[in-house]
């Protein structure tokens, strides 16, 4: 079983890669995470944010799914600490995935 740190590291790796490539989300949950992450990155990384947001929007339109609201993403436990997550994403986009 993976530890919390490993789960977090995997999540960050996935999202950083998606932000760079603009790949499509593989599930509704991942699309929610893309949408959430795009919000956090839009000030300092607008290109990556728009890639994630577009990928999430495509997914929701294609599968006719209603996205979770941002508070719901947190209350459902997809993201626990928003500030930490944002910091980690910004570090990840700068090429630092461990600290």
């Amino acid at each position: 079983m993976l530890s919390a740190r490993e789960i977090e590291a995997n999540l960050l790796r996935t999202l950083v890669q998606a932000a760079r490539t603009g790949r499509c989300p593989e599930s509704d949950q991942e699309a929610d995470l893309f949408r959430f992450t795009a919000q956090l990155l839009k000030t300092w990384h607008p290109n990556e944010a728009s890639r994630l947001d577009a990928a999430a929007a495509n997914h929701f339109a294609q599968f006719n799914v209603k996205p979770r609201s941002f508070p719901q993403v947190v209350s459902d436990g997809l993201i626990v600490d928003v500030a930490r997550f944002r910091h980690a994403m910004e570090k990840g986009l700068a090429g630092i995935l461990k600290w």
Binding site: F36, Q39, L40, K42, T43, W44, S69, F70, P71, V74, S75, V80, D81, V82, A83, R86, H87
Partner: protein, 197 residues
């Protein structure tokens, strides 16, 4: 004639901030008044309506627990949350920055909301941020006006003094730390160097 600062309070983001404040008041069950001092992108937005932000950098006049899961979604689909990692001690702040903060028409029954003075915001930006600052920031690339130069000197002097004090150097003779003169500073520098040896 001096014109009062008019804060932009009809944007989607400000409506979101109101919602966030109401939610905070409800979640921590506030019973007494508290002051909140906004810095960062949200303060810039209140002054200029230009920049959009997701995190609210704020400090409070009393110690409160900011719930980690407190965030809201605005009508236009923007996210807003309090940044619990914000700390005014890391930026270059003038010693009067809280006194100079300007009251905004936002707020709730128990929370009074102030925005840091634009000069303080400019100072923070100049001394702590990388050069690839997003557009719409206070004083981005602008020439420092005279009062700012004076305040920056005061703030830098205070920071130097704090460093000396942290090293165990006593400066001045029971004067305010911000009032110490150049001679005292030089004396303190010499003393600090001697201590290091």
């Amino acid at each position: 004639m001096v014109e009062h600062i008019v804060f932009g309070t009809d944007s989607d983001l400000v409506a979101g901030l109101r919602k966030l404040l109401n939610e905070l008041e409800k979640r921590i069950a506030l019973r007494e008044p508290i002051k909140m001092f906004i810095a960062g992108g949200m303060a810039v937005h209140l002054y200029t309506q230009a920049r959009v932000t997701t995190d609210v950098d704020a400090e409070f006049s009393k110690r409160i627990h900011l719930p980690l899961d407190l965030l809201i979604e605005t009508e236009d689909g923007n996210m807003l949350y309090f940044d619990p990692t914000y700390n005014s001690a890391f930026a270059l702040m003038h010693e009067d920055y809280l006194d100079d903060a300007i009251k905004t028409p936002l707020g709730t029954e128990h929370i009074e909301v102030y925005a840091l003075s634009p000069i303080v915001g400019w100072l923070r930006r100049q001394c702590g941020r990388p050069s690839h600052e997003p557009s719409g920031c206070v004083g981005n690339g602008a020439q420092a006006p005279f009062p700012l130069t004076r305040r920056r000197q005061q703030a830098l002097r205070r920071r130097r003094l704090q460093r000396f004090q942290a090293q165990g150097v006593v400066v001045g003779q029971r004067r305010g730390v911000g009032q110490a003169g150049g001679a005292e500073l030089l004396q303190a520098v010499g003393h600090a160097r001697r201590l290091r040896r």
